[in-house]
Amino acid sequence: MAETPTLDERDRGGAGTPLLEARTLTKHFPLGGGAVVRAVDGVDFAVLKGETLGVVGESGCGKSTTARVVMQLIAQDKGEMLFDGEIVGGLSLSLKEYRRQAQMVFQDSYASLNPRLTIEDSIAFGPTVHGVSKQAAILRARDLLLRVGLDPARFAARYPHELSGGQRQRVNIARALALGPRLVILDEAVSALDKSVEAQVLNLLMDLRQEFGLTYIFISHDLNVVRFISDRVMVMYLGEVVEIGPVDELYDDPRHPYTRALLSAMPSMDPDNRTMEAPLAGDPPNPINPPEGCRFHPRCPQAQTVCAKVKPVLATAGEGARQVACHMEVAGSGHSRAPKLEEAA
């Protein structure tokens, strides 16, 4: 949001400081026989207050694992997270308190609601865990139902299977808001919905962001949706961040070869100018024993010797707020397309 974000009274660091800061988050899943899935491998990013950070990438890039680590549904192996300047799970911000402030909406609207609970009971569950009386929690649930566009008189006492996918996803959003969070992680939250319903839910998400001053982490494989809703976008590949930056800058002028490939794989929407060549060959590799050096180098059209040997670090590229992990952006990296050292100096 370009406008001044509505500041929460719980705010500590002030506007413009990150709400969430992830530092070298790492999560590996050991398989049998010494193999390790490097699902998330040293991921650094920050989410500013009031902004929407889009996260894109293909299967195996670690975007969903990142979401679950951020939500602390699984613990990271390494790294730490700061929420409004305080270490998550540390002395001043307990995990339980953090969970009041960060919530998540899942992709599968049916699986994320307990089939034996009525809609209002599902929404009221979180607040009761945090000591709100059952009666107050139910009242809050009905108020939230109204705010997500479902008439409580009709829907509050229904069960999940009596609702359509779009309605269920509205309930999940209401449930996430029941604790009054500041950060909401939306993990493919609109991906399973039909296009016409998806647009309704996106409108709702934008309204709620405004109304409650929320900060979103919006994970999706749909690049159109991410462009529409995000302020900044983070591109992941094989458990690492390859590029992060303001949405229009990144879409109009992608700097990392993978971002370029991903964007040019989007259907053209123009019958007179169809895509003629696939930007990449083969499938995205799986994150078990990923390649040395730059993880993208085996598929990168511009790869050179240095790419196979040295791992590029995420660094500011150009003059904007963009960060790219590519040797072509670093002066003196040894890549022939890198800017010359004297130029940079």
Binding site: E58, K195, S196, V247, D248, P267, S268, P271, P284
Partner: protein, 331 residues
Amino acid sequence: MTAPLVAQPLVAIENLTVRFRGAQNVHAVNGVSLTLEPGKVLGILGESGSGKSVTLKTLLRLLPESRTDIGGTVQVDGRDVLALNPQDLSDYRGAVTSMIFQDPMLALDPVYTIGEQIAEAIVRHEKIGRKAAMARALELLELVRIPSPERRLKAYPHEMSGGMRQRAMIALALAARPKLLLADEPTTALDATVQIQILLLLRQLQRDLGMGVIFVTHDIGVAVEISDRLAVMYAGQIVETGTVRELLRDPQHPYTKGLLAANLHGARKGERLEAIPGAPPALNEPPASCSFAPRCKHAQERCRAALPPVVTLGEGRLVRCVLAEDALAPA
């Protein structure tokens, strides 16, 4: 066999209705008519429950016949598909019409190698030996551009990546040289960079082999990338047809317009989307009025009173909406 006259369409569906019987009947397809010229690609665009996949399955008679009522006629390459006897049906499947699916793991048999499955499909339709069939299978794998095809011939489906499996399934579908290929969301489950590879492959195969293709999808971007013509389905009916260009540049039906807006291509950041309100109807009754009227901001009394007219705007350009009729009428 003499070549069929150019004028004869490869597929001609006339007033197709499909009803599933059960505790509650479901009128999945309600009067669909469409034609496909040989060597052309028709995209059927629709959301879940629009009847697009059911229409496709009817072309191969894949619906459970014991609890399905099918009305209307379905002609493919001069055959009356709904009247085929079991022997003719099994000759027809694969050799005239074949199909690729969203999930190749369900279409491929996990206990046979890719080579064995393709060879089996060839032998079923042609009188050639096992060895010759294997050689043809290898050619097919090369055709769908699977790297190191000799090795893949001996691979099992689970040993391949998602994109590779999709290619193997396409090779299997092409084994008996069909004239019509039906594609049921074959790229929906794939990653973006793989999806475009498969789309380009299908486009090239279609052109090289001169097949007719009916491609069902919910993704308008995918449909544009592969189709010559589009048919938009809603609640078991086709609401608009035309070339891709016509539908994209000048959509007439309010539902088509809504779908295009919901694709977000070119949507302005921060602006509210013009979303279609509500959800599709349940289809427990056959439609007696415009199915889209409850969600349509242009809906009028007559939309709720009777079925909307099918308005012909041009050659193969049909719209099922009163607005189009008004636009045609002299002012």
